[in-house]
C-alpha cells in the first residue's frame, strides 16, 4: 500500500520558453541550453521554511542576493550529491571571479522533512560547501514554493519502509535579488557553464535587479 503525495504544478511551457527581449542586451544570452531566462522575471510571494540553523527562511531571505535553489533530499545517492558538488564548484569559480560571490547564496530545499531534520541538513549541505544553506518546511510550504517555481516532487512513502523513493525536479532555479524567479538551469549541469552564464547575467542585470 503506497501513499503518494503528488505536487505537480507545471506552469505553461510557453512561459518557460526562452524568449528574446526586444529592448535588452539579455538577448546575447539567448537562446541557451544551459540557462533559460524569463522575459519578465516573476516576483515570488510569501513562503515560510526553516533553515539548518533553525532560523526562519522566508521571502525576505531571498532579497538582496542572487539565490540558486535546488530541491532534493539527503537520502539521494546520485542526483543530489552530484548537483551539490557541481554547485560547490560553480560557487568556487564565482568566488575567484572579479565580482566575487558576496551577493550569491545556494539553498538546498529538502522535500523530505520527515527524515531531513535541521541537524542532518546542516551536516549534509556544509559537507559540499560551508556557505550552503539547507532548508525545509511542511508539505503546504514546500508545495507553495515548488508551485511558484514550476518545480515538482513526489514522495512515495510506504509505511514501515525507511528507504522510500523520492522524485524531484533536477533543475536549479535562480532567484534574483528582488526575489523574482529569474532563470532556470536544466540538467545535465556543468559548474563552469553555470558560473559563466550567471556572471554574464549579473553583469547585464546589474543594479536593475537589485
Amino acid at each position: 500500500m503506497m501513499t503518494s503525495v503528488v505536487l505537480a504544478v507545471m506552469l505553461g511551457g510557453v512561459w518557460l520558453a526562452a524568449t528574446y527581449r526586444e529592448n535588452g542586451s539579455r538577448a546575447i544570452l539567448l537562446p541557451d541550453q544551459v540557462m533559460t531566462l524569463f522575459p519578465d522575471p516573476k516576483p515570488l510571494t510569501a513562503f515560510a521554511f526553516t533553515d539548518h540553523e533553525n532560523r526562519v527562511f522566508d521571502l525576505s531571505r531571498l532579497k538582496g542576493k542572487w539565490s540558486f535553489l535546488f530541491f532534493g533530499y539527503t537520502h539521494c545517492p546520485d542526483v543530489c550529491p552530484t548537483t551539490l558538488a557541481t554547485l560547490a564548484r560553480a560557487h568556487e569559480s564565482m568566488v575567484k571571479s572579479t565580482a566575487g560571490a558576496k551577493d550569491v547564496q545556494f539553498v538546498f530545499i529538502s522535500v523530505d522533512p520527515k527524515r531531513d531534520t535541521a541537524g542532518k541538513l546542516g551536516q549534509y549541505v556544509t559537507y559540499f560547501d560551508a556557505s550552503f544553506l539547507g532548508v525545509t518546511g511542511d508539505n503546504a510550504q514546500l508545495g507553495n514554493l515548488a508551485g511558484q517555481l514550476g518545480a515538482v516532487y513526489e514522495l512515495a512513502i510506504t509505511p514501515g519502509v525507511d528507504n522510500y523513493p523520492v522524485y524531484h525536479s533536477a533543475a536549479v532555479f535562480l532567484v534574483d535579488p528582488r526575489a523574482r524567479y529569474h532563470a532556470v538551469f536544466a540538467p545535465p549541469l556543468d559548474a563552469e557553464a553555470i558560473s559563466r552564464r550567471f556572471e554574464l547575467l549579473r553583469d547585464l542585470e546589474g543594479p536593475e535587479a537589485t
Partner: protein
C-alpha cells in the same frame, strides 16, 4: 639474486595482465562517491567494456562492504527525476557502457565501515551465463 626476484615478479604478473586483457568484460574508472556525514546511501560508477562479439547481460552486483547493492538508473519522467531498479543491463557486442552520475549507478546501502576518499571497496558484478568479475572501486570525493 636481485634479478632472479625481478624475473619471478614479472612471471607472476603476466597471468594477471593476460586475464585483464582477455576478459570478456573489463571494467575501468570504477569509483564510489564519498557519502556526506550522516548519509548511508552511496553510488558506484564505472565504465564497462564488452570485449566479445555477443551481448553481455549484467544481472546483479554484490559486496560484503555494504548491506545491499542494487543496479539503479536515474530517470527523468515529466520533469520528475527519480531512481528505478534496473533488473538487468545489456552491454552491446564490442561496446562500452558508462555507469555515471545522472544515469546507471550501483546503489550502495549502509556501508559496513566508514568509507573515506582514497579507500577501496570491492564489488562483484555478475553476468548472465556465469561470468563474475570482482572490481576494486576507489572512494572519491
Amino acid at each position: 639474486m636481485k634479478s632472479r626476484h625481478l624475473v619471478g615478479l614479472i612471471w607472476a604478473l603476466i597471468p594477471i595482465a593476460a586475464a585483464a586483457e582477455g576478459a570478456d568484460v573489463s571494467v575501468r574508472d570504477a569509483w564510489v562517491r564519498e557519502a556526506p556525514p550522516g548519509v548511508s546511501m552511496m553510488a558506484g560508477y564505472m565504465v564497462l567494456q564488452n570485449n566479445t562479439s555477443r551481448a553481455q547481460m549484467l544481472v546483479a552486483a554484490r559486496s560484503s562492504g555494504f548491506e545491499s547493492v542494487m543496479i539503479h538508473r536515474t530517470r527523468v519522467k515529466q520533469g520528475l527525476t527519480g531512481m528505478e531498479h534496473a533488473p538487468q543491463v545489456e552491454l552491446l557486442p564490442n561496446a562500452n557502457l558508462s555507469f555515471a552520475p545522472g544515469g546507471y549507478h550501483l546503489m550502495l546501502l549502509n556501508p559496513k565501515r566508514a568509507l573515506r576518499a582514497g579507500d577501496r571497496v570491492d564489488i562483484t558484478l555478475e553476468f548472465r551465463g556465469g561470468l563474475v568479475i570482482s572490481v576494486a572501486y576507489e572512494v572519491r570525493k
